[in-house]
């Protein structure tokens, strides 16, 4: 992967488990945006905020955490995310021929 790092490489503070909010990094290879989010907040909010900032259409991007697709209804708690974890953003792929 690029020098953006990968989810497992991030430093995770020892006391992060008790905090109500998490710092999540969202990266699409070009940009990195950090969000502070509650453990029980649906990630849809974070996804929309990232797309808003980057001028992307939410329907045309895919969010991955630890290699698995993230759904808008997921939240950090359900994905067992920790402080400092990274969400990767990839473009939607489409194909038919030429």
């Amino acid at each position: 992967m690029s020098d953006n790092g990968s989810p497992s490489n991030m430093q995770k503070p020892e006391d992060a488990g008790q905090s109500e909010h998490l710092n999540i990094k969202v990266t699409d290879n070009n940009n990195e945006v950090f969000f502070k989010i509650k453990r029980t907040t649906q990630l849809k909010k974070l996804m929309d905020a990232f797309c808003d900032r980057q001028g992307k259409n939410p329907a045309s991007v895919r969010f991955l955490f630890d290699g698995a697709r993230v759904q808008p209804t997921d939240n950090p708690e359900s994905l067992d995310m920790q402080d400092g974890d990274t969400l990767e953003v990839h473009q939607e792929q489409i194909g038919g021929g030429c």
Partner: protein
């Protein structure tokens, strides 16, 4: 009966309808029946004793006391009146309903069923024989029975074309718009990564791939592998960040990697990237990787992308594969037997070809062998008879069926939990179960189905707890640092 008898009868005061019916309810607690009506089926559940002479179901002796306590002592028989698949047409009963008394929705039912089971013209005279007639009660949502869905005709008009989630599987999901586009042949019919990943996950489930050493990865895996190829081990930690990917790829002998030619694009336009789907098949035991492409097998750019993905997988797993290009693949344009010109058949090609190869591998395994396939055999295209229209229809039906199964499972679980918890009938109704008396106006014989009636269809109705339900506003705030 004499004239004076008739005269006397006329002197008897007429009674209210409900009062009249009440007298006919000799066993009101046991003769209730349940009705459920939809566009595609008419369901009636009752104890059956008075209609078919059925005795109440006996509880087997071996049944535990706890289960008996939780079960009703007498069970209902359920009759489903629905179109036969063999008739290949919509039966009249789904649109024509016999109505003997327009003020009483209990009389509403399919014509053929009405003739058999429901008495006709109500007469509210004391001397007339009492009609066998009971109050209907709520019918727990019949969609929890998967078998009822067989009557569905998979009409895409029942699904709104929006971005709501249509089917959410553990590893992939697809929204309504992508689902509907699967059956299109114009530019909208180009498959997205979701439209490729979901059918492949269903395929993997159907053939029990992971239990048999076959791994069909998601299309985004190709993107991740390409990044490994492009950036290398930039963190100098032996790709520690790709532990899950490594674990998944190394767990099987046969690996299929669907890939899009947009994997090296970095688009900031807010739209999707790529033009074409193909795939790589890797036999890890033979250390062979085969690139199978229905259009660009000869193209150097596409060959390089495939080779890069294979190279990255070798790097990640510390293996070395011999890369080759398959030349026996059918051409998606020349060899396509679809009766309709399909402008984007590469997605269906990838899905169907992987299905054929998986079935092939599984067939050999069942015969006690392992398939040692490096290239597609000569004449593969002829036997394949590639038809993208047929494949699209099959993919569409598979996804629709999977959604029905998921819906049925969820509803059955909800119902069972509620029943075992002792939820009363009226509380079940509040939870979204249907009651015939509360249905919208019945469809009069000969009338077309209204939009409201469509909404009552058995199929493609979003379950109450579906993931596609609207997202509730969350009070938590998100702050940019």
């Amino acid at each position: 009966m004499t004239r004076s008898d008739i005269s006397n009868l006329e002197k008897i005061p007429r009674t209210a309808k409900e009062e009249h019916y009440k007298r006919s309810r000799s066993c009101p607690k046991t003769k209730n029946f349940q009705l459920y009506r939809s566009k595609k089926a008419f369901v009636i559940a009752e104890r059956g004793e008075h209609r078919a002479g059925l005795i109440p179901t006996q509880v087997p002796e071996s049944t535990s006391a706890e289960v008996i306590r939780n079960l009703r002592k007498r069970r209902y028989s359920v009759d489903v009146n629905a179109p036969s698949k063999l008739e290949n047409k919509r039966p009249k009963m789904t649109r024509a309903w016999a109505i003997d008394d327009t003020n009483d929705k209990l009389e509403v039912c399919p014509l053929n069923f009405a003739r058999e089971s429901v008495a006709s013209v109500p007469v509210y005279n004391e001397a007339e024989p009492m009609r066998q007639r009971e109050r209907s009660t709520a019918f727990p949502d019949p969609r929890r029975y998967w078998n009822l869905y067989q009557f569905d005709t998979l009409q895409d008009t029942d699904v709104p074309s929006d971005s709501s989630c249509h089917l959410d599987l553990p590893g992939s999901s697809i929204n309504n718009e992508d689902f509907l586009n699967i059956r299109k042949f114009d530019i909208d019919g180009w498959l997205t990564d979701n439209s490729v990943d979901v059918p492949l996950e269903l395929l993997s489930r159907k053939y029990k791939c992971q239990e048999h050493g076959i791994e069909i990865v998601q299309s985004l895996m190709a993107v991740q592998l390409y990044q490994i190829y492009r950036w290398g081990d930039s963190n100098r930690d032996n790709f520690a960040g790709y532990g899950l990917e490594r674990e998944r790829l190394s767990s099987s002998r046969h690996v299929f990697i669907p890939m899009n030619d947009g994997i090296d694009e970095i688009s900031n336009e807010g739209s999707g990237c790529g033009l074409h789907w193909s795939f790589v098949y890797i036999d890890r035991e033979l250390c062979q990787a085969t690139y199978i492409d229905s259009l660009f097998a000869f193209d150097a750019y596409h060959q390089r992308l495939a080779a890069a993905v294979v190279d990255a997988m070798g790097t990640l797993l510390e293996e070395d594969y011999e890369f080759s290009i398959d030349w026996n693949s059918p051409d998606q344009l020349k060899d396509n037997r679809s009766p309709v010109f399909d402008i984007g058949p590469c997605g269906p090609f990838v899905i169907e070809t992987i299905r054929i190869l998986v079935a092939w591998i599984r067939g050999e395994q069942d015969a006690g062998n392992e398939l040692d396939m490096i290239w597609l055999p000569d004449g593969f295209g002829e036997e394949y008879r590639f038809d993208s229209k047929r494949i699209r229809e099959g993919i569409f039906a598979d996804i629709a069926r999977a959604r029905m199964e998921e819906t049925a499972k969820k509803l059955a679980k909800q119902h069972d939990e509620a029943a075992l918890a002792g939820v009363k009938g009226n509380e079940l109704e509040k939870e979204g179960h249907r009651q015939v008396e509360e249905a919208s106006e019945p469809i009069v014989a000969g009338q077309e189905s209204s939009g409201e009636e469509d909404a009552e269809g058995l199929v493609f109705v979003t379950p109450p707890t579906s993931v596609s339900s609207s997202f509730e506003a969350d009070q938590a705030k998100i702050e940019d640092e």
